[in-house]
């Protein structure tokens, strides 16, 4: 975070985490305080460079005196707070949150970090029954708010639907979408200010969408790919990666990453060039980089095909 200077002049606040007293500047969140002090808390919707939306409820911790568990990503510390980050209550909640997600969303190619947490909490995605048959493309978009298709309960409703492939830059596989809101935030005021996508619908049928579900070329999308960069579950994936995965050709063990500066304009965005089999397969930017905070424009992120050509 680049508000380090501001943090430095703030009052220091003492709290107790897992029986240990720790201190952090006023205004810090529980999560920031814990991570600074080497205490691991799993997160899903949280990302350092986006505003916390606290919707995934994975980072919940126990705060003494609070009736419910508390989202550590957005709750600011208060003097004398007593916090448990790994009590039975907390781990039961995290396990069930992950199981609810895994039973409804395809989480087969999530980040290694998330996969590790799913292992830690021994996530059983089948405990609610076998997954229900996938929906039609656009099915959730056509569901009127407050109405849903009632099933007989013998299979677990999922968000499965066909992948949306409507442009050459990236695909949208909402079967993998956990509704973390990150892409909407990146497309909106947190980074891009393009507002091509938003949350649509309600309840289990809520989904990320353009207006009336129009294809991306018809929407306001400018293909900066910042939504792809922040997606934690590969619901959003570059077309190159998607095509390679379709034929079993995506192999991260064979990839190398080279850091460089974008050649297009004078801003000086740092790029990470992901190369596999002597071909550029992906471009990212480090999220802790002062200039980009992980965000790029269409040229930096997708304008490399001529090299491969």
């Amino acid at each position: 975070m680049n508000d380090g200077i501001a943090l430095a002049i703030r009052r220091s606040i003492k709290i107790t985490v897992d029986g240990k007293e720790v201190a952090a500047p006023e205004g810090s969140t529980i999560l920031q305080t814990c991570r600074t002090n080497g205490i691991d808390i799993p997160t899903l919707c949280y990302l350092e460079n986006l505003t916390p939306v606290n919707t995934c409820r994975l980072c919940m911790v126990e705060v003494e005196g609070s009736r419910t568990l508390v989202p550590s990503c957005s709750r600011k510390i208060e003097s004398g707070m007593v916090i448990q980050t790994e009590s039975q209550r907390v781990s039961d909640s995290r396990k069930m949150v992950l199981e609810l997600l895994a039973s409804s969303v395809d989480m087969s190619i999530v980040s290694p970090e998330l996969a590790g947490w799913m292992e830690r909490y021994q996530v059983d995605k089948e405990r609610f029954g076998p997954p229900a048959a996938p929906g039609q493309i656009g099915g959730r978009e056509k569901t009127r708010a407050g109405h849903h298709h009632k099933n007989d309960g013998t299979s677990a409703a999922t968000v499965a639907e066909p992948t949306k492939v409507d442009n050459n830059q990236y695909v949208r596989d909402y079967s993998r979408c956990v509704l973390c809101y990150r892409c909407v935030e990146a497309c909106g005021t947190d980074a891009q200010n393009t507002f091509a996508i938003a949350l649509g619908g309600r309840g289990f049928e809520a989904h990320i969408t353009t207006e009336f579900g129009v294809a991306l070329p018809e929407s306001a999308c400018v293909y900066c790919g910042n939504c792809v960069a922040v997606c934690p579950t590969n619901a959003l994936m570059s077309k190159i990666e998607y095509d390679l995965r379709q034929v079993g050709g995506w192999d991260e063990s064979k990839q190398s990453i080279t850091r460089t500066i974008c050649p297009y304009c004078g801003v000086g965005c740092n790029l990470e060039i992901h190369e596999q089999d002597n071909r550029i397969v992906k471009v990212t930017s480090p999220s802790d980089h002062d200039v980009t905070h992980g965000m790029l424009c269409v040229k930096g992120r997708f304008g490399f095909e001529f090299i491969n050509g």
Binding site: R57, L100, G129, N151, L179, A206, T209, E218, S219
Partner: protein, 618 residues
């Protein structure tokens, strides 16, 4: 920034509908004048939203829906451009609410209640007759479509339908009780009668009118006449408030020990005090009239029968907490309530009881009426703020609490209708006197919504501490010839209690001791003929359909809860029934512990209590 739209045109009628809302803007975008001296920006307008205040989004969507019957892509684009809201976000808002259609829809849409109170009254699916009369739901048949609806707040009558009709004149009507005949009569009424009929079942009016405090004017005064209201004590409390000053008003409420009636039972004086004491300006006060808890109809009766009391109560609240502006957010299913409240607001303005220099005391306060659009969750206070602001009604994380950052991120007070009218009673008789009513810890009277299998369903008022059984007696007892099976206390978010619990004292401490809740004052009575499997399943469906979908425990948890219940009811359990109950317990726990708001936290309450009482699955 430039907004990109599809280029699809809006029709002249669609444009007219949008313009009719935008042209109502009295002042330049987002700027409110104070005392005619200085102007300040009341809205925090994002830089991309310079063209107009986004909070007109819902009113404008209503205008299109009412005029055309659905919201087309062209209309949505036009609206987005007028208000400077990205089309994707406008779509996200429109698709959140059940009363907006984003697909071409027939001119007449009938929402028929099939919720639990009407089920309790009939012991059957209250929408079943529609299949015979109008065919399958969700399908356009000759310009008419019917759909199933959650509770419409006419529970004392046992069946209800809200009709939306696109066109020029009045376009919503709430009908009850409905059957095939009354429904077709209602639909064919001339448009000047298209608002709804009075219905205020307050049986106590006939027996002991003198015991009524909150309901004393219901059925007595003319709800359209401010003079009638004033001749029955109206605006005395506001005058007294202006006499004694804001601090003393809050002190009276503190002395009265008034607790919020919306469900959370928070001390009203504490809430008001923290808004009043906040140095950030402006302050707002919101009256939550988005009554949607299944089985609840008390606020509707007040809105329809004693609307001036809500306007006066909100004015007192605004005075005590230093607000210049108040909002009344009324659920979209209450057209008559909305019309009466709107009339009350404009009458009060005419009489100098709203607007500049109220009663010549230098106090400025104005009220805007806002309409919900079919979303139970919008009754959660922070979701309600988002809804007024023109956003999806997704609850916010707390803290910050409304008194710190509420509507438009400013210090905001928010109270339920019933709480606000209690304030008038407190100012009339004095806080200490008010505290003598009820029990020491639950002061005053409470409105109870009696529905289902009782002889005299309706709205009742009784001092806190009354026993559940006494209240049933007041309602004429269980329907003659039936015997009591169970009572749902507090609404869908409440709990079932058994016939052996009629000695529960209906006070905050009394229900706490019994492990139940008063919620919104729902007392829903089921007799032995009730199909509790279907009732409990309907509750689970309700929460699945009304979850905003923001947080995982509620979004997926409500879906899993419905599936689990369906399996248990159908006897198609995965593993044993006990395995399923254990899983249900785990899902309920994560919903209670980790959901963002009260909806998810309480969604499993009634279901769990039904299992504890052995009401489900044979």
């Amino acid at each position: 920034m430039d907004l990109k739209t599809s280029g699809r045109p809006a029709s002249p009628k669609e444009k007219e509908a949008v313009d009719s809302v935008i042209s109502q803007l009295e002042k330049p975008s987002g700027v409110v004048e104070t005392n005619g001296k200085s102007a300040h920006v009341a809205y925090e307008i994002p830089f991309y939203n310079k063209m107009g205040p986004r909070d007109l989004l819902l009113p404008a969507l209503h205008a299109i829906q009412e005029r055309i019957g659905w919201i087309s892509h062209g209309a949505l684009d036009y609206l987005s451009l007028q208000l400077g809201v990205p089309p994707a976000e406008t779509y996200g808002v429109a698709s959140f609410y059940a009363m907006f259609s984003l697909e071409e829809a027939p001119a007449t849409v009938i929402h028929v209640c099939d919720d639990i109170a009407c089920r309790a009254a009939k012991n059957a699916d209250p929408a079943a007759f529609m299949n015979d009369e109008y065919g399958q739901p969700d399908i356009d048949v000759n310009g008419l479509m019917w759909i199933r609806s959650p509770c419409l707040g006419r529970c004392e009558e046992g069946s209800a339908a809200l009709v939306q009709r696109a066109g020029e004149a009045n376009r919503r009507i709430l009908l009850a009780p409905v059957n095939a005949n009354s429904l077709s009569d209602g639909i064919s009424r001339p448009s000047d009668q298209w608002i709804g009929t009075d219905s205020a079942r307050v049986p106590q009016r006939e027996t002991d009118q003198s015991s009524l405090r909150l309901l004393k004017r219901v059925g007595v005064t003319d709800p359209l006449s401010i003079d009638s209201y004033r001749s029955h004590g109206g605006y005395g409390p506001l005058r007294r408030a202006l006499d004694i000053g804001p601090e003393n008003v809050i002190r009276e409420i503190k002395d009265a020990k008034l607790m919020g009636r919306g469900g959370a039972a928070f001390p009203t004086a504490v809430k008001w005090g923290s808004v009043a004491g906040n140095s950030v300006r402006p302050h707002y006060f919101v009256c939550n009239a988005d009554e949607s808890e299944p089985g609840t109809f008390k606020d509707r009766v007040i809105m329809e029968q004693d609307p001036f009391s809500i306007v006066e109560g909100l004015t007192v609240a605004g005075f005590a907490t230093g607000c210049e502006k108040g909002y009344i957010y009324i659920r979209g299913e209450y057209p008559l309530g909305e019309e009466r409240i709107s009339n009350a607001v404009s009458m009060a303005k005419k009489k100098g009881l709203l607007g500049r220099d109220i009663m010549g005391r230098g106090f400025d306060f104005d009220i805007e009426v806002r309409r919900g659009a079919g979303a139970y969750i919008a009754g959660e206070e922070t979701a309600l703020f988002n809804s007024i602001e023109g956003k999806r009604a997704e609850p916010r994380n707390k803290p910050p609490f409304p008194a710190q950052a509420g509507l438009f991120n400013k210090p905001t007070g928010v109270n339920n209708v019933e709480t606000l009218i209690n304030v008038l009673e407190i100012l009339s008789i004095g806080g200490p006197e008010f505290a003598q009513i009820g029990t020491p810890d639950s002061t005053g009277t409470r409105l109870f919504c009696l529905s289902g299998s009782v002889n005299k369903p309706g709205l009742y008022e009784a001092p806190f501490g009354i026993q559940l059984g006494e209240l049933l007696k007041m309602a004429g007892g269980i329907t003659t010839g039936k015997s009591l099976k169970t009572i749902l206390l507090g609404g869908a978010a409440g709990s079932f209690v058994g016939p052996d619990q009629l000695d529960i004292r209906l006070s905050f401490e009394g229900v706490r001791a019994a492990g139940v809740t008063l919620g919104s004052g729902v007392i829903m009575v089921f007799d032995q003929g009730a199909d509790m499997d279907q009732v409990v399943l309907r509750i689970a469906q309700f929460f699945r359909e009304e979850s905003c979908g923001q947080c995982v425990p509620c979004r997926v948890g409500t879906a899993r809860l419905e599936e689990l219940l369906t399996r248990i009811v159908n006897g198609t359990t995965i593993g044993s029934r006990n395995d399923e109950l254990a899983l249900l317990g785990k899902v309920s726990t994560v919903m209670r512990e980790s959901s963002i708001c009260g909806l998810g936290q309480t969604a499993a309450n009634a279901v769990e209590s039904a299992f504890r009482l052995g009401l489900v699955g044979g």
